[in-house]
Point group: C2
Chain length 510, copies 2
């Protein structure tokens, strides 16, 4: 019964397809998968944009009334339907009662953020007291480094990924400089092997073993923003601890995407944003995790009145009395108008669980991968996972998808595509689409990072015209992420058709 | 023609009263003052709460349909009417287009904050490049101290007020500790003289002269939150500079309240919140000022990707390239849903000027002071300003207001009051109301801080029942602030009547 987690999700997809007498590339397979998806109804809790509402859709190419294909939840999640209602409650409260809103209504501005900690904790596997919701991600990372990065002449290094997200890179670099060390020697940037894009767990562990005694803090991302690679947080955390390092995680792309057990794994600190898989809107308040073992720490901290215990906070006697756990790291009072989206978002997460979300995500992204590979061939050459490669080969006869697409064309759905194929029927043969993300599903989340033999900006433009919302990251990838809370198997099916059209079109332009 | 600024505003009020043949304590005087107020129409740009909308109003005591008396703009400003409209634009944008909202619409989430810098700069007397809008106030203060507080064995102190706002106190204390110094010796808390509540400029300057050589940073509030005292920013800044100190200001209670010329005064850094006199909602993004002389500094900084120049920010090559001026201190991306209130608020400020706002404020608060003194006697004994004291004595015959109130009672407006007076007609004689704020109008902003011979919590409760919105600050004051953008002279008139009722009532309870 727990067999699903040990088998490749593609196996499961194929078993279902076989049971239903359907081909994996058949639209009806996508429809069937949606019909048995236990969290399919959660899509209804989101505002899923329509083709006609996106500013750059070419309405000659797609049906204006159709839903777009939203593959951008890794960048900015969709808007929960309840958001507007909850926002209006707060707006009306301010309009009608001014300062009274601090202590009244649905989200009393003076303490609403505390009410999020428990639910937010569930998403990352943390206890309520270990979580605060505040500031932006990088601000929180700085606050954590101020506490955990206390370099000494013998232990002064911070280990990050060589391709860490720029903000993390700058945060770490500036903290090192702040303490008077030189990033050239104090910042260990762990790199993929020559010619590879993914980091190997063994290399990370070897580096920790090698340099651990001089490392003060290991600070990696739980899920790599560029490649979508998921790191083995418990193993790396343990290895770091064995060497006496603190280990903290940037979970921007991990929170709400993969299962996390921050408390159980003994992670020292972590931060994440809420605008990606947590669907709380651009730049919304970020998550902050401090393990309970550090709850009474006397590390250096940048203090502010909001980190002071509530019951004596307004005594104004300037005698510091720290709030419990993570909350003591709060500095400024919380932005009341950022509460409504978080509330709306957490309510949706409360209807399911990360386990259930992840189970769907594994199937959904493997389905996406299978359709792409089926069309464009093999996974990234770096990846030597024979099993997966085998499966795909078995399954993927390039001709198949082409036929299916034609079939769709006859349904009036992707007319343009057929026309294009008619004109340039053989172009796809000359175009490569590579998947940079790990082929091992346990080593990735929802996202697949794609690179192309044609200029990505052209592909991206063509996708945009067809209402496939995704993002392009320098130097060379398009990230597509079917977020399991609101994306369906049919979205993936449609998305791959549009991707195919776009690639063909880009090939013609280029 | 510039005589108004050199004379006490009470003089001006009295001249007008005399010209109109009205007594200062006559309701018609308030009405006349409103009729000649050049910015009276701006009240219409705000949602001014009604008595019936405030949760704790006793509708037996006041007319439910009447506007409340909002004297709490020093704590949380009122909601601009345009806020809801602008908010709904952003909500709809997210609903309909997801991530597209970053670069489209009225407030593109990726850069809307930059568009506020110029208008925000006007309010504090700063150039556009000197201003950023981000984070919370205390977070900004920390970011500035990280840059400006670089203690050495000979220059390691920070000078603050002994009664600094708690958050500033904790910020400074924790920064000192962070650098390994002891707040006991490194934190100079400048205190009022024994038995006094206000700081004397001469004492501040003497302290700077005395300790300046060992002071790294002077960090005071432009307007003291508890007493409402306005400090002489240019003189203190200059004195600090002469001693080689950096001088920074917490302008939480000064921005939008008094005229500021941060650039001209050579202030090194400053921060302020936008939820008080800037009417942008609880915990909204705060102001950050960095003088242009520091725009290319290489001080230590806590960096993040949002401080990187926009044109190369998304190159993701992890090579730092600082944005201009204050903007390089940005860390995380900006919260899109905090933009609408700031936009709505700045539009109102753009219809007037700080000069015009302050001109009204001087009259409005002097009027409030005059009515209180008229009823309850003398200003705070500490204050030796003979001129003001004299004027008030001249003007204030306690009996007068009482009669006026009765007159009002006959208009059916403040019935309860008359009843109370009827029952306890002489109680006021035993009650003292003291004004702690400076009697010199140039040394205060909109706010007057009141203390009472009866328990303030009782007074506060009674005021609340009567829809007078103000706040109570431990240990012992009620702060009342008629914000000039939306408060009228009639509000002040009504507010003082309700204050009188409340004090009487509190005296009966006590
Ligand atoms: C003078 C002063 N400084 C700082 C603050 C706190 O700022 P925040 O919570 O916005 O950081 C306040 C809040 O009322 C204040 O009055
Ligand atoms: C991995 C990662 N870390 C950090 C950030 C930036 O965070 P913020 O601007 O919220 O501080 C992002 C944003 O996309 C990210 O993907």
């Amino acid at each position: 019964s727990n067999g699903n987690t040990t088998h490749h999700p593609l196996e499961r997809l194929k078993v279902i397809a076989q049971e239903q007498g359907l081909d994996l590339t058949d639209r009806r397979f996508a429809e069937y998968m949606d019909s048995i998806d236990p969290i399919r109804h959660l899509r209804e809790d989101f505002c899923y944009p329509k083709m006609k509402d996106l500013p750059k859709t070419d309405l000659q190419l797609v049906d204006p009334e159709e839903d777009c294909v939203y593959f951008c939840g890794n960048s900015l999640g969709l808007c929960p339907k309840k958001f507007k209602e909850y926002m209006l409650l707060e707006v009306n409260k301010w309009e009608k009662t001014g300062v009274e809103g601090h202590t009244s209504g649905d989200l009393p501005w003076a303490w609403f953020d505390e009410d999020f900690c428990e639910d937010m904790g569930k998403i990352v596997g943390a206890k309520k007291e270990e979580v605060a919701v505040m500031n932006g991600l990088t601000v929180n990372l700085h606050l954590q480094l101020i506490s955990f990065y206390r370099p000494t002449p013998t232990r002064y290094k911070i280990m990050i990924e060589s391709k860490a997200f720029p903000s993390d890179h700058y945060a770490v670099e500036s903290q090192i400089e702040f303490h008077g060390y030189d990033p050239k020697t104090a910042m260990i940037e762990i790199e993929p092997r020559k010619g590879e894009l993914l980091l190997r767990a063994e290399d990370i562990l070897a580096k920790i073993e090698e340099e651990g005694d001089s490392i003060a803090v290991i600070c990696l991302s739980g899920t790599q923003y560029y490649t979508g690679q998921v790191f083995d947080i418990p193993t790396i955390t343990e290895a770091g601890h064995k060497k006496g390092c603190y280990v903290g995680w940037d979970l921007a792309h991990a929170a709400g995407n993969v299962e996390l057990k921050l408390n159980e794994w003994g992670v020292d600190f972590a931060c994440w944003c809420t605008y990606k898989y947590l669907n709380s809107g651009a730049g919304c308040m970020a998550g902050f995790f401090l393990h309970e073992k550090h709850k009474n720490n006397n590390f250096p901290k940048l203090k502010g009145w909001w980190g002071h215990k509530l019951d004596t906070r307004f005594k104004m006697d300037n005698k510091w009395s720290a709030d419990t756990g993570a909350l003591q790291y709060r500095i400024s009072n919380a932005p009341g108008f950022l509460g409504p989206s978080i509330k709306a978002s957490l309510e949706i997460f409360n209807k399911t669980s990360m386990k259930e979300i992840r189970a769907k995500s594994l199937l959904l992204t493997s389905y996406l991968e299978a359709l792409i590979l089926n069309k464009y061939g093999q996974p990234n050459e770096q990846q030597e996972n024979g099993e997966v490669k085998g499966k795909v080969k078995e399954n993927g006869q390039n001709g198949e998808v082409k036929e299916k697409v034609k079939e769709n064309g006859q349904n009036g759905e992707v007319k343009e595509k057929v026309k294009e194929n008619g004109q340039n029927g053989e172009d796809w043969k000359h175009v490569h689409v590579d998947i940079l993300s790990p082929s091992d599903p346990t080593q990735r989340g929802a996202q697949l990072s794609l690179s192309f033999s044609v200029p990505i900006l052209h592909v991206f433009e063509e996708l945009t015209k067809r209402g496939v919302v995704c993002d392009e990251r320098k130097p060379n990838v398009i990230r597509v992420a079917p977020a399991p809370l609101y994306c369906s198997f049919l979205d993936v099916y449609r998305g791959v058709n549009y991707l195919d059209q776009s690639v063909q079109s880009a090939a013609r332009i280029s």
